[in-house]
Amino acid sequence: MSKLKFVLVVVLALSLSTIFMGLSDSHARKFPWKPIKVIVPLGAGGSHDLNTRAVAAVAYDYLGQPMIVQLMPGAGGKIAMHALKKAKNDGHTLLMSSASHLTIGPHVRNMGYDPLNDFEFVFMFTKADYMMAALASQPWKGFKQFIAAAKKNPNKISYGSSGIYGTGHLMLLKIMADTGAKIKHIPFKGGGPAYRAGLGGHIDTFGALPATGGTLGRYKRGQVQILGVCSKKRIKMFPKVPTMIENGVDFVLASKRTIIAPKGTPQDRIDFLVGAFKKLVKNKTYKKLLKKMGEKPSPLYGPALKADFVAEHAAFGKILASIGVKKK
């Protein structure tokens, strides 16, 4: 009999504990009640990873819970995006997205998610404006001469991108469409190798970000020329560099470090996160970390953030459709 009693006690204890488990998950508790996980769909050590870690470094003071960074690279961000889509929409699982997973990938291949409707757009922390660079030793100087040279010698001048259908490739497609010049596209595996090949003179033009790879220093000492920056207005670090719009190419592109959440995350929790992040971007330590990386916060949230992504999604879709890329 004592055995049976023991079993009874155990079963009772277990069933009681399930009640408590149920409680802990209910809305009675104040959000967030456990660490917040942020998935990074890219590799370790990249600017995306560093940006996320800079946020995580100070997040506790604003969220009341630690922020855990989880890297999930692979398959062009598809694995990470699916992990977020499947995650519980209680606000404890977020993802630090970049544009390509949301606004390019879905046009090119079947990603298995709807970039604009399967996620909630929470907060953009920083953005790095994309630039087009070339060695200063090229016979042509500046964008106009570059295009003139490319038109004179079609398919002779090359551009090295971070990969096929990557952000840099898109910029090239748009430049070719708007100017009529024909430029050779050489895809690399990542922006770093393309940049290296550019500095070594193996390709003629390449992409660059303002803060990485010592671009500013190389520009100042006259090693590289910047043909244009893909921002709406000229940027402070490179005040003399014209925008692509000024160059006659209607193209805006930036690597946007944006927190997104699974669809259906309660609005009050999103509001809480936005409120906390708004204060976080003013944090001295955070700003110092960003400054060291050569970046600064450019917060965007609410309907304006969503609208930004909707517009980019549409613009990129148009460019890809114009060269006949169809979703496989």
């Binding site: 050590g45 699916h82 990969g163 770093g192 010592g214 970390l289």
Partner: protein, 496 residues
């Protein structure tokens, strides 16, 4: 200049800084020794801690991790045929047969000494010749990469094991596995069969865990049950004898050769330590007086792999620091750490932060004797693993395999891949096919394919580009010479 160097050295020589390096090295050895946990992951996890340390402490701490992990990876490779980090796959080839002969301790010591020597060599190269080596690295265009890889493949082709046809079949399978994923140039999917996990290609870590570790587990559990629960037959040796001075001396040339190979390959961004390690191993076998011992428990083989592997540690910082372009996976993370410390890698790094950089270099060098001492103290402890009953050891290995496969990309699909690779590896090894050619082909061919296509895109489809670029021509001629020499000398590796 001189006073800056002295100031840097003074800054480095504090007990606190040295302690941080020691902690870093210890963490690195530990993480490296756990299969599936790589130095890349360890540094990634520890980078945020360095945010809040001054640069002359935080950076050497991470460099210590980087160093330690490269040596640590060889420990499970030797003891249980499980590469702790990807480049240690080459260490498995000779280290594990040695451990099975009851010479685990001396094999680990050989790995420790050659790691330390290779690392020291490349650190000195970094300090003395960073600028010219970086300039050389920039000269490598896609065509030159292809030339280098062709040369590398030629050197490594001697690592076929006893049967050449089986070696070739193995390499071709590796080539197929390497082709899985997106085509780098057209973006088309190849051999993905609709699986998301396969879209990015088959990951190096899950593949190696499966091929080496899980297949080993399967081979071990074939044994009769009572054998598994008994102490291993070599247990009474307690891991065996220490390494003889003469054995180290005999491998001196090998260590130097591998250090040079590791330093040069490491200085070229985008090649990585796995390639350097296998080239070092292949070159050692070709030059060795006893090439037939390779793959069956050669100390020279362990030395060749480990020296080349660790020589990448200092060298891949060369392009990272002087050009701002990371040399490899860990270097990419270290570059992030430099940036987060306000030390912006690139041509102006040394001008702006000379004193800090000299302090970092000093601690980089000090890290080597620290690793030697720690490794020496830990060897007995590690070697004791060979005395553990397999009934206990095997489940532990399997557990680490599953964890390691998962945390590679936090993706359960990679665990499934590792298990499939394990069953495949088991059948493969049962049929006496060598694993090394498969791994080498898997690592090299995607890179070679990409550079080949890029070179042709740049040249507009002109195949002569591989012979008109001086570096590419040099490597292709070198490959031809190696090929002619090996035919002329007749392969020394005889059939069984």
């Amino acid at each position: 200049m001189l006073d800056q160097i002295i100031e840097g050295i003074m800054m480095a020589l504090t007990w606190k800084a040295i302690l941080f390096v020691a902690i870093g090295v210890f963490a690195g050895i530990t993480v490296g020794a756990i299969p599936g946990l790589t130095g890349v992951m360890a540094t990634a996890i520890l980078v945020p801690f360095s945010f809040f340390m001054p640069p002359e402490l935080g950076i050497p701490f991470l460099l210590g991790v980087h160093k330690g992990a490269l040596f640590g990876g060889s420990i499970p490779a030797i003891l249980v045929n499980t590469p702790g980090t990807p480049p240690a796959a080459a260490t498995c080839l000779d280290g594990y047969p040695l451990a099975q002969k009851g010479e685990a301790k001396s094999a680990i010591q050989m790995s420790l000494y050659s790691s330390t020597l290779g690392d020291t060599f490349s650190d000195i190269a970094l300090i003395v010749a960073a600028i010219p080596l970086a300039a050389l690295a920039l000269k490598f265009g896609p065509a030159d990469f292809f030339g280098l890889l062709v040369m590398g493949l030629t050197v490594i082709s001697s690592v076929t094991g006893s049967s050449v046809p089986k070696g070739i079949i193995s390499a071709l399978i590796g080539l197929l596995i390497g082709a899985v994923g997106f085509d780098a140039v057209t973006g088309a999917e190849r051999f993905t069969f609709g699986f998301d996990t396969l879209q990015g290609g088959i990951g190096l870590v899950p593949l190696l865990i499966g091929l080496f570790a899980i297949s080993e587990v399967l081979i071990q559990v074939e044994k009769k049950l009572h054998l598994l629960s008994e102490k291993p037959t070599t247990a009474h040796l307690k891991g065996g004898r220490p390494l003889k001075m003469q054995e180290l001396k005999d491998s001196g040339r090998t260590i130097l050769r591998s250090s040079i190979i590791g330093t040069i390959v490491g200085a070229i961004p985008g090649t990585g330590s796995s390639i350097a390690t296998f080239i070092g191993y292949g070159a050692a076998q070709r030059a060795s007086k006893k090439p037939e011992e390779f793959g069956k428990g050669s100390y020279e083989g362990v030395a060749a792999a480990e020296a080349a592997n660790s020589a990448v540690a200092g060298a891949d910082l060369i392009p990272t620091l002087t050009l701002g372009i990371p040399g490899g996976g860990t270097a990419a993370i270290l570059m992030g750490a430099f940036i987060a410390q306000g030390l912006r890698p690139g041509p102006s790094l040394f001008e702006e932060n000379a004193v800090t950089m000299y302090a970092i270099f000093t601690l980089l060098l000090i890290g080597n004797p620290i690793m030697l001492i720690q490794g020496w103290l830990l060897t007995d402890l590690f070697a004791a693993v060979v005395t553990i009953r397999q009934a206990i050891l095997i489940p532990c290995i399997l557990l680490f395999c599953v964890i390691g496969g998962y945390i590679y990309h936090n993706n359960l699909g990679d665990v499934e891949l590792a298990l499939i690779a394990g069953i495949f590896g088991y059948v493969f090894r049962k049929l006496k096919f060598p694993l090394a050619p498969l791994v080498i082909a898997y690592i090299i061919t995607p890179m070679a394919e990409r550079s080949f296509k890029q070179a042709l895109l740049i040249s507009g489809g002109d195949y002569t580009v591989f012979f008109t670029k001086p570096i590419s021509l040099f490597f292709i001629l070198l490959a031809a010479v190696i090929l002619i020499l090996s035919v002329w000398k007749q392969p020394k590796v005889s059939g069984e």
